[in-house]
């Protein structure tokens, strides 16, 4: 897969070159203002982590970059040119590949078809061109194996895969086809430790191949492992915008949760390692009612 990354990466990428720039971008869904006044720069060879509470607007933000939604205010520049993507196809044509949180796969289609959907390998150029089916099957299987996913049969419909396996199909696809910018919306949410590790390695590899990466996650550990730049959204606005080194893991965690939540929780839930002999059980139970 890392081979694939290096193979598919745009050769013309220069580290540090700005690929996508957002200035004052906002988005409303009817009466709901999901985003306002966001500034963001995706730079070649860097990972930008977008963090935030549920409903903060992270998915909305990346959907604007990937062409799925139009922003309702502000400017979106790609390679220095102001654009408004009419469709995800246009974003893809700019080498921007995305793993969506909720638009992952077509359940009734075979795994390999899902993998290549929209970017089929064909012998000709026209829609009616024949697909190189054998090759597509082989590649899809191989790329999934690299993530530690061995599907029973590459021809089985995606609907028969487990939640995490499905997510892996979407990730493997984006990594395989992302040439300049890779956007990942909570890719590791459904994944086990092993698969998460693989994804984090991909992120690192993509960065090293010179791609710009936007990485959305709720896991501050994951974010801190690979991020170069951290943006925290809160109710649609930027709450923190810092480069790596300006912020420690603990600060990040604290900022994300709007307080030292996890540490506190850890303390709160702390209990003897031997089990069944808890004597504070119900007392504590009522204590943290609020």
């Amino acid at each position: 897969m890392t081979d694939a990354l290096a193979d598919h990466a745009d050769r013309g990428l220069r580290r540090g070159q700005p690929l996508v720039e957002l200035t004052g971008v906002g988005k409303s869904y009817g009466p709901v203002r999901a985003l306002h006044d966001i500034d963001l720069r995706v730079v070649a060879g860097e990972v930008i982590c977008v963090l935030g509470d549920n409903g903060a607007g992270k998915s909305t933000l990346i959907k604007i970059i990937s062409g799925l939604h139009r922003h309702t205010s502000g400017v979106l520049k790609v390679d220095g040119q102001a654009v408004t993507f009419g469709s995800p196809r246009e974003a893809l044509d700019h080498g921007i590949a995305t793993v969506y949180q909720d638009l992952a796969v077509v359940p009734l289609m075979e795994v390999w078809r899902n993998f290549f959907l929209g970017s089929e390998l064909t012998s000709g150029r026209f829609p009616l061109a024949g697909m190189r089916v054998r090759e597509m099957r082989r590649i899809a299987d191989q790329e999934l194996r690299k993530m530690g996913i061995v599907v029973h049969d590459i021809n089985q419909p995606v609907a028969t895969l487990s939640g995490g396996q499905r997510q892996c199909v979407a990730i493997a696809r984006a990594v395989y086809f992302g040439a300049r910018v890779l956007i990942l919306d909570e890719p590791t949410a459904a994944l086990g430790v092993k698969q998460s590790g693989v994804v984090l390695r991909y992120v690192a590899a993509a960065r090293d191949a010179g791609l710009g990466v936007v990485f959305i996650t709720h896991n501050p550990q994951h974010a801190h492992l690979v991020g170069d730049h951290f943006v925290i959204l809160k109710r649609g606005a930027t709450a923190l915008d810092a480069r790596r080194g300006r912020v420690t893991l603990d600060e990040l965690t604290a900022q994300m949760a709007g307080g030292d939540e996890l540490a506190e929780l850890s303390r709160e839930l702390a209990r003897p390692s031997t089990d069944g002999k808890r004597n504070t059980g119900s007392a504590r139970g009522s204590e943290h009612r609020s």
Binding site: S66, L68, S87, P88, R89, L92, D93, T98, Y100, L103, A104, V105, V106, P107, L108, M109, E110, R113, F116, L117, G118, S119, E120, T122, P127, L128, A129, G130, M131, V133, H152, D153, N155, Q156, P157, V158, A159, T160, R166, R173
Partner: protein, 368 residues
């Protein structure tokens, strides 16, 4: 043996088995069904439904309906026949004009569906009514009656009839050219679905349009293209009817749109889109054609015709469902299950699977 099992696991195997069962049944009960001539008559009848049904099947896999598919066959013929008759021009001109007209209707259907977000059921219902009305109104206006005039004497009739409505005899049986055309269209559609990039797009658009769009599939173009395919095939059948019967009744064609849908669904196409198969649709059309003629060959009481038809249809569908379930049962080796998604594997992923599809959630119920 393994080969046989593999074969049984193909998605159209259910429909095929049903077709064979019904075929054998009629062979047993209807002596006059047992001739090559009868078989070819059935094939011909199936082809006139089946040609358009292929397009309708593709469209349904792509998640849309076309209720104007029946009446457009008549519009196609009328445009050709009346234009040429009124202006006295060569029939070739009219045929091309009619093709352009049909493609425009298909485009309009698709464009309206995509542009306004109104369900295709309603948009094409509108087109259906408009075409039906226009067929009658315009014909009356042009010819002064409700049927088009005889066009046998107009230039170009001979070659056009060769293309659209000729037949040749093999032994004592007549083979109509539409049967060959049908085979061609089915093969083309099957190839497209299985092997062409466009096929991938059709499945994706019907299975999850938003996801498809998100990975760069040109949803709008694909859908409009499907509508135009249907109206192209409608035009084709319209040409056949015109050049076979020379005149056309302006009120004809109505009701056939449902036969196309029936053929597609009997052949295993998911009503909610995203799953189906061109061979299945062809077999569906064949089952319908065979049943409706088989009842006649068997000489059953015509008053009960519809009742027989209904029972046969249910039978076909039941056999289909049964074979599908068999083919994905544990007794079969791996790989088998993959062939028939909606039959069983979907249960625990229903938020990802079309939730309102009748076929899919019910698989769950069956488990109980």
């Amino acid at each position: 043996m393994r080969r046989a099992i593999r074969l049984l696991a193909r998605p159209e195997s259910g429909a095929l088995t049903a077709a064979v069962v019904i075929f054998v049944f009629f062979l047993l009960v209807a002596p006059s069904f047992r001739s090559a001539a009868s078989f070819l008559t059935v094939l011909y009848q199936s082809s006139t439904i089946g040609i358009v049904a292929v397009g309708v099947g593709l469209l349904m896999i792509g998640g849309e309906f076309d209720l104007s598919a029946g009446v457009i066959t008549t519009s196609a013929g009328l445009v050709n026949s009346m234009f040429c008759w009124y202006f006295g021009v060569d029939l070739w001109v009219g045929a091309v004009l009619s093709l352009v007209f049909c493609l425009a209707v298909g485009f309009l259907n698709g464009w309206l569906v995509m542009r306004t977000g109104i369900p295709s059921f309603l948009v094409t219902l509108g087109t259906f009514f408009v075409l039906q009305g226009a067929n009658l109104g315009v014909t009356k206006l042009v010819t002064g009656s409700v049927s088009s005039r005889d066009i046998t004497a107009i230039d170009g009739f001979g070659p056009l009839r060769k293309i659209f409505a000729s037949s040749f005899t093999v032994g004592s049986a007549t083979v109509w050219i539409t049967v060959l055309w049908w085979a061609l269209f089915v093969a083309l559609a099957a190839w497209t679905l299985q092997r062409a990039r466009l096929g991938n797009w059709i499945y994706a658009v019907g299975g999850a349009a938003a996801s498809a769009r998100a990975v760069g599939v040109p949803v709008v173009r694909t859908t409009i293209g499907l509508f135009m395919t249907v109206s192209f095939l409608g035009w084709f059948v319209g040409m056949h009817t015109l050049y076979r019967f020379n005149t056309l009744q302006a009120g004809n064609g109505v009701g056939n749109e449902f036969l196309y849908i029936i053929a597609a669904v009997v052949g295993g196409t998911l009503l909610t889109g995203g799953f189906g198969n061109a061979f299945g649709v062809a077999i569906g059309a064949f089952i319908f054609g065979m049943t409706s003629l088989g009842i006649v060959y068997a000489g059953w009481d015509p008053n009960w015709f519809r009742a027989f038809l209904g029972v046969m249809l249910l039978l076909a569908v039941l056999v289909n469902a049964y074979v599908k379930r068999l083919s994905s049962s544990p007794a079969f080796p791996s790989g088998a299950a993959s062939a028939s998604p909606p039959a069983s594997p979907a249960p625990d992923s229903s938020t990802l699977v079309p939730p309102s599809s009748s076929a899919v959630p019910m698989a769950i119920e069956r488990e109980r």
